[in-house]
Symmetry: C2
Subunit: 408 residues, 2 copies
């Protein structure tokens, strides 16, 4: 039923249900028309198009303690749902999220419904075009400190980062209280540095400014930031809600790429028995709602996502789809130059290499840290080893001496 | 530190950390100024007010498999955070939500910060005043079916519900596609029925209309619904985001109580090792953001919340606080008239008795179902047994014959 035009097809993993078929049926009826068998025949006729359908049930091997496990697939009539993420989530996992041990692992949308969701306005190709960078992973640097810093200090830190050759720089996602360096001032200041860099070197940079404030004013704030010269917006999607991402992405005047931060996402994807799968939450939903780039835990750092899930997120962000551009995955945390070959092997070319400590922790500073990364990225895309490239790039050599090269 | 004016005090339960003190320290530094020991002394001086503090660490008994467990309490400088839920959640559980086995169990706010959050505009007393009902639990009926129903059918169902004596009627939270009975038409139609009821009997009713649509238009939509005669708004808070609840509650023209639905909340509170505790999510956060009434799973139904948690939610909603009105808990699911004595014993007078099947499933229909509930509610507040009350109230007797009386 995955390709069905009339149903939103959802898959759940459940524990503890002894009769999967009955459980599936009660979901299909309970979360659509509410009641069925007791309806009079003529009412059943008018209600039939709104009735959920059991698509599939499958027993899974029981849990270690013998608890039965299963997979249930239910189709929700698309005519019951509005084309937005809140309506979708409330319908397929509103009440059901509270129904014991149940995890929403996948959702497939009818094409005509999916087409009504914005998807990325820029996507991989649009971001590359803005940067003028082809054929290699993009490099992003994260400010080491934002809170408590003056505009002058941040300006200096910004310059040091772009001098290292990074493609993007992003605010810290926890940067809310910014009286000393208000967002609009940062945007103006860093845009000027970006212009200067471009005039001198021809190289472009995007600055992802943290979009904060009352949710009903975020569209206006984003518009004003774009007017002031913003080149990219950073949004904490879960805390603010998926729908504001949708509205920002769909707004004609907010003509810059949007970078989704996964703050709070762990509260939803981490449990094996509750919430949503990471690939659905950070892959499908983020892309449907319009994220051009999505940050999430890499499989490498101390804050790590299991490898298969991290690849699953990237797969959903970048798969070819009829209506939506491909989005750029940014598997972050624990990234240093010596990890670039593994990252490249796992995620390929269309990936955002996202580093904080791996740039600022370089023994010669943030600029050298950026250069080391660029040398590593160039090496892997040219098929050379980091050791080979390090011979021509002292910054990379120093980075390898500090962090090593991940061998796999 | 709970009463500290300068820190937001948060408590986490963690598994797997062998050095709790170290873990706590890395949270306190990493999620505020980012780095500390390597800062020059003069920079430490300017950054000190922004630095997080370890308040407490406590070992807990290890998990069954020997994994160490602990409780960590961290103070975040309130000057780092804006007075809204997205800033709060991103700061205290943004990145951290993805950091392995960690659950956010509690948050205490400095009074001056809490005062900047709206809290309920009406609260328990305001809702009672609108209804003119004192000294007994309030009764709410949930439409049995909304999706696919015509306005005429819903009107009939509405009338049957209010004829039974219920105080409130609510839409199904999954009612999005309402072309046959648009929200504004429902509001006008049911408001007329409410007026008629009041003229004839002096009894007032609130109708909680499901607020849906683009999040950046919800304030306008709410305003138009209120203009059309809406007496209460139903909001799926998690899917739309806490901040839109905040903005609706704080808006001067949206002068009706707001009822929070817990759709999707199970994705966040259900896991013992991830997400947020139910009392924090559905108690504190909902009240801070401005919910007047909060629905959530009762400890009684098949979709049940553990008793202690359900009482914890109610405790946070109703505790006396310096800046915020008390909110009304609505422990729902599995409620029938025979359960009213237990509900009353557990939750007291200031509670919303919230029933769907327990009203519509009455053998004599929805009106009799409402009457049975009111008889049960009157009985418990007068200190009479249901069996005694059933002698004078045939509808209650029939209900008890069907569902029995929960003995405890
Ligand atoms: Mg950060
Ligand atoms: Mg319902």
């Amino acid at each position: 039923m995955a390709a069905d035009a009339n149903f939103i097809v959802t898959t759940y993993r459940v524990e503890g249900a002894t009769d999967l078929e009955k459980k599936a049926k009660s979901i299909a009826v309970g979360l659509t028309v509410g009641t069925w068998t007791e309806l009079p025949a003529d009412k059943q006729k008018t209600m039939a198009p709104h009735l959920g359908q059991v698509v599939d049930v499958k027993e899974l091997p029981p849990a270690a303690d013998g608890t039965p496990r299963g997979e249930i697939t239910v189709g929700y009539p698309v005519i019951n749902v509005l084309p937005d993420i809140p309506a979708l989530l409330t319908t397929v996992f509103g009440k059901l999220s509270m129904d014991g041990s149940i995890k929403l692992v996948d959702v497939d949308l009818p094409e005509a419904f999916e087409a009504q969701l914005p998807g990325p306005r820029f996507g991989v190709e649009g971001v590359r075009e803005r940067l003028g960078v082809e054929g290699r992973p993009l490099l992003m640097s994260i400010f080491k400190q934002c809170i408590g810093m003056s505009l002058e200090e941040l300006k200096e830190a910004y310059q040091a980062q772009i001098d290292g050759g990074v493609d993007l720089v992003k605010d810290d996602e926890i940067f809310f209280a910014d009286e000393q360096a208000p967002a609009v001032e940062r945007v103006k200041t860093f845009a000027a540095l970006n212009r200067e860099r471009e005039e001198q070197t021809g190289v472009k940079t995007l600055y992802a400014v943290n979009l904060t404030g009352p949710v009903d004013q975020l569209v206006d704030r984003a518009r004003r930031l774009v007017e002031a010269g913003a080149s990219c917006l950073l949004l904490n999607v879960l805390p603010y809600g998926f729908d504001i991402l949708h509205r920002l992405a769909a707004h004609p005047e907010i003509s810059v790429p949007i970078m989704a931060h996964p703050a709070f996402a762990g509260a939803v994807y981490s449990s094996p028995n509750h919430g949503l799968s990471a690939p659905l939450l950070l892959g499908k939903l983020m892309r449907w709602a319009g994220a051009d780039m999505v940050l999430y835990p890499s499989p490498y750092g101390s804050v790590a996502m299991p490898r298969e899930e991290a690849l699953g997120v990237a797969e959903h962000l970048r798969s070819e789809q009829p209506h939506h551009r491909r989005a750029l995955p940014g598997p972050a945390a624990g990234i240093h130059p010596g990890l670039v070959p593994v990252l490249y092997r796992d995620f390929g070319t269309d990936v955002l290499v996202n580093a904080g400590g791996g740039i600022h922790g370089h023994p010669q500073g943030s600029t050298a840290g950026g250069k080391a990364f660029i040398a590593a990225i160039d090496a892997v895309t040219e098929g050379r080893s980091l050791e080979e490239a390090a011979a021509d790039h002292p910054e990379l050599r120093t980075a390898i001496e500090k962090w090593g090269v991940l061998v796999h």
